[in-house]
Amino acid sequence: MGEKEELRNGDYVAKKPKLLKLSISDPEYLLASEFSHHEPGTARINNGSFGCCPESIIAAQRTWQLRFLKQPDHFYFSTLRPNLSKSRAVVKTLINASDLDEVSLVDNATTAAAIVLQQVGRRFSQINDTVVMFHCAFPAIKKSIQAYVTRAGASVIEVRLPFPVNSDSEIIAEFRKGLSKAKSNGGKVRLAIIDHITSMPSVLVPVRELVEICREQGVDQVFVDAAHAIGSVPIDVQEIGADFYVSNLYKWFFAPPSVAFLYCRKSNSSSSTMHHPVVSHEYGNGLPIESSWIGTRDYSPQLVIPTIIEFVNRFEGGIEGIMARNHEQVVKMGKMLAESWGTSLGSPPEMCASMIMVALPSKLCVTSDDDAFSLRSHLREKYKVEVPIYYRPPNEDDGENEPRHKDGLITGYTRISHQIYNKVEDYYKFRDAINQIVENQQVCKMLSTK
């Protein structure tokens, strides 16, 4: 692939070989070239949980790991920090942060939550200090709040996320209600935690509007948990306007496990009091520097970020092209499944990114989280379909607006993902599996392996 270029004086210089363009719309080729390590025969429609990592990136990661093992002292003194800075610079550009100091690299959103909540916990001063979050916030976030907020004496108000949801205004209305409730006892809302894309059930939340409302209503700080965002939706942290914003790079941005970025707005005075909980030599030098050394460990997932940019740029339209295609395909597949099962989607297409919730036939009788888990395990073991299932408890408040199916109330949804390695056959396999289970007149309780 290398080309030679003749210079005036007759010398030849080998050009860097051009990397082959990759086609977004050719999953077969991608599976063979970059994702051949994915278990063959499994319809992997759960990119949302653990993400994926192409072989080019795995190879780049391995190179970094070997460099460290070869001469770790030299790596530590000369290689690590400059390359971590490069990675941070790439992220800064990606998310339109105004300053490199605003970008720290950490393991995952869970770690970022610990950092933000520890800092918030230190600021609680009054009995009526409150934290507001969505009721469907990720379980780890809820526990983090218990560990750092409730333990420090503050209280928590949960905002119900309407689901199934029909428009942004439904979410905005609930959020306003939640904020009023939080302020009703005369307390100060110290922190609002807002998901950019909720996990289960998965919905794209109008974060910009919600952040604005927080500012209007005098909320101290806003933390956006955007675990799924990068590589799913465009991110402009200046436009979104939150104080803290975290996203995992290994979910939708092809990084190996695991790396996430935590953005801390510089104009927020508490940014300088943020600390990584694992304290090392760099304590006091700012969160980005503290996070770049938390003791001896493998920093290679953080070092491959520039290589990932090269990878996504091999696709038509780069990461934007990938995002657009994933969105288009997941909506198409969601509609196909809903039609086949006679059910519905959990949100309108514009309120999802690369994942969408599809209602399951009510005949499956999903009546608990355990049922959802049994169904998921059964799908994995019997049908080789990997997809998470969500139990949506009936809500009295919804009354006539409860989601319904021709056969009854809808209480189960599935969250399908679409990533570049997915093929239409993956979703057909899932469609057919559910149809088979219904045809066999099996309900979730029968599928339990306990």
Binding site: P40, R44, S49, F50, C53, I58, P257, G295, T296, R297
Partner: protein
């Protein structure tokens, strides 16, 4: 992984690594593997010294497919990825990882990437449980619950100290209550104490140890002094942080005795920072008797970066330790919390059984390795001190696999910055990797050795490595080199 209900703990077979590979198609994919060692005809082990009292490890060998031990050639092959142009005599900083372990790790990483949900639900927890179980028997802990696996000793320190901070915040401790630590405590641990203890209202007292040191009595004496100071004015000593083997300058501390003194003197809790412990010195939880004990496994126990264990004595008053990264496992005990701190690469923690197998390929297992490392590092240290006309930093019985060797005074080392620059110079100009320590003169001392090198000895080292270092220093001395030349 973003959504799941509580998971049943699946107890998996002990023979996880002996069952057929569930991911056979992956073996084609392992790229950039380190060169596996080629089996050679058995040769007499170059490190055998005729000692017939080699301690046999307590646990049974996992594989006894061959009765011959690992050969010198196989050892060099396991570490052939090391930069061959460098005399690597600093195992203490970053440890080492044999290629067979690195390859096992890569296999685990690919298994996860192949079908992560399945890996998460079926393989991860049993794998970590297996590693913890092996470690429990290695360090003679009574209960499995006492063993948590974390990234490194720095993380372990954060866990222990964060709990102390809560005790201050929640009024269990009074403002001004004391923590004792060694003056030579590791920099990161000192910062952690500042972040979690001082900041919460605690008062820190440092134990000033003499260096060079001549006997355990000197250390015990200073420790008692510091404890008395801590208890002045009716203050309570809430925590003693004691290094098992200090980092810089390196010395083996008589922890068992110091823990006993702590108990006598009514110290609430004792935390032993044994970063260098496992694979370096004897680690027996019943014998040492501390409340908390942590050791890195990637330094002297051949694990990939990075993994450490944190032992928390069950009978200890404090059972409310938490990992600072909180997930859905919060409240299920530190060991369970630490086994899931969000999606990340746990392969370094899962590869522990393979490391036990690796270590068992050596005569005497880990005990044999420790013994030979110790003998060799003392021998090399004495050789260097003799050639340079200097001294060792401690007597042989107060070191394990590392020792401090005085550098010729004419090198003019007179600051920490000098040591860093000299170290860089040795790396760049002479291909020698070794950390240097500045020992400031005290009042009245003259013509003193102010610089010490901390040399390590691990199984991959050869005598030539130390000769290279010897010659490099001799050349510098011969050229009239001083550190002033590196300044500016």
């Amino acid at each position: 992984m973003r959504h799941f209900p509580l998971l049943p703990l699946v107890t998996c077979s002990w023979f996880y690594y002996l069952t057929p590979d569930p991911f056979p198609f992956l073996s084609k994919l392992q790229t950039l593997q380190l060169q596996p060692p080629s089996p050679m005809a058995s040769q007499s082990h170059p490190y055998l010294n005729g000692d017939s009292n080699t301690h046999i490890p307590k646990k049974p060998k996992l594989s006894s497919l061959s009765s011959s031990f690992i050969t010198e050639a196989e050892i060099q092959s396991e570490f052939s990825h090391h930069d061959s142009t460098i005399a690597r005599i600093n195992n203490g900083s970053f440890g080492c990882c044999p290629s067979s372990i690195s390859n096992s790790q890569q296999h685990l990483q690919l298994q996860f990437l192949s079908q992560p949900d399945h890996f998460y639900f079926s393989h991860l927890k049993p794998g970590i449980l297996r590693s913890r179980t092996l470690l429990q028997s290695l360090i003679n802990a009574q209960h499995l619950d006492e063993i948590s696996i974390v990234d490194n000793a720095t993380t372990a320190a954060a866990i222990v100290l964060q709990n102390i901070a809560w005790s201050f915040a929640e009024g269990k401790f009074n403002q001004g209550d004391v923590a004792i630590m060694l003056h030579y405590a590791y920099g990161a641990v000192k910062k952690s104490i500042e972040a979690y203890l001082t900041r919460a209202g605690g008062h820190v007292i440092e134990v000033h140890l003499p260096f060079p040191v001549n006997s355990n009595e000197e250390i015990v004496f200073e420790f008692r002094k510091a404890l008395e100071k801590g208890k002045e004015n009716g203050r309570k000593v809430r925590l003693a942080v004691i290094d098992h083997i200090t980092s810089m300058p390196t010395v083996v501390i008589p922890v068992k005795e110091l823990v006993r003194i702590c108990r006598e003197e009514g110290v609430d809790q004792v935390f032993v920072d044994a970063t260098h412990g496992i694979g370096c010195t004897d680690v027996d939880m019943q014998d040492i008797g501390a409340d908390f004990y942590t050791s890195n496994l990637h330094k002297w126990f051949f694990c990939p970066p990075s993994i450490a264990f944190l032992y928390c004595r069950k009978s200890s008053q404090c059972l409310d330790l938490h990992h600072p990264v909180v997930t859905h496992e919060y409240g299920n005990g530190l060991a369970v919390e630490s086994a899931w701190i969000g999606a990340r690469d746990y392969s370094a923690q899962l590869v522990v059984p393979k490391v036990f197998e690796f270590v068992d390929r050596f005569e005497g297992g880990i005990e044999g390795i420790k013994k030979r490392n110790h003998e060799n590092v003392v021998k090399m240290g004495q050789m260097l001190a003799k050639v340079w006309g200097t001294n060792l930093g401690c007597p042989p019985e107060m070191c394990a696999s590392m020792i401090m060797v005085g550098l010729p005074a004419c090198l003019g080392i007179s600051s920490d910055l000098d040591t860093l620059k000299l170290r860089t110079h040795l790396r760049d100009k002479f291909g020698v990797e070794v950390p240097i320590y500045y020992r400031a003169p005290k009042d009245g001392e003259v013509d003193l050795v102010t610089g010490y090198a901390r040399i390590s000895y691990q199984v991959y080292n050869k005598v030539d490595d130390y000769h290279k270092f010897r010659d490099a220093i001799n050349e510098l001395v011969g050229d009239g080199f001083t550190c002033t030349l590196l300044r500016g």
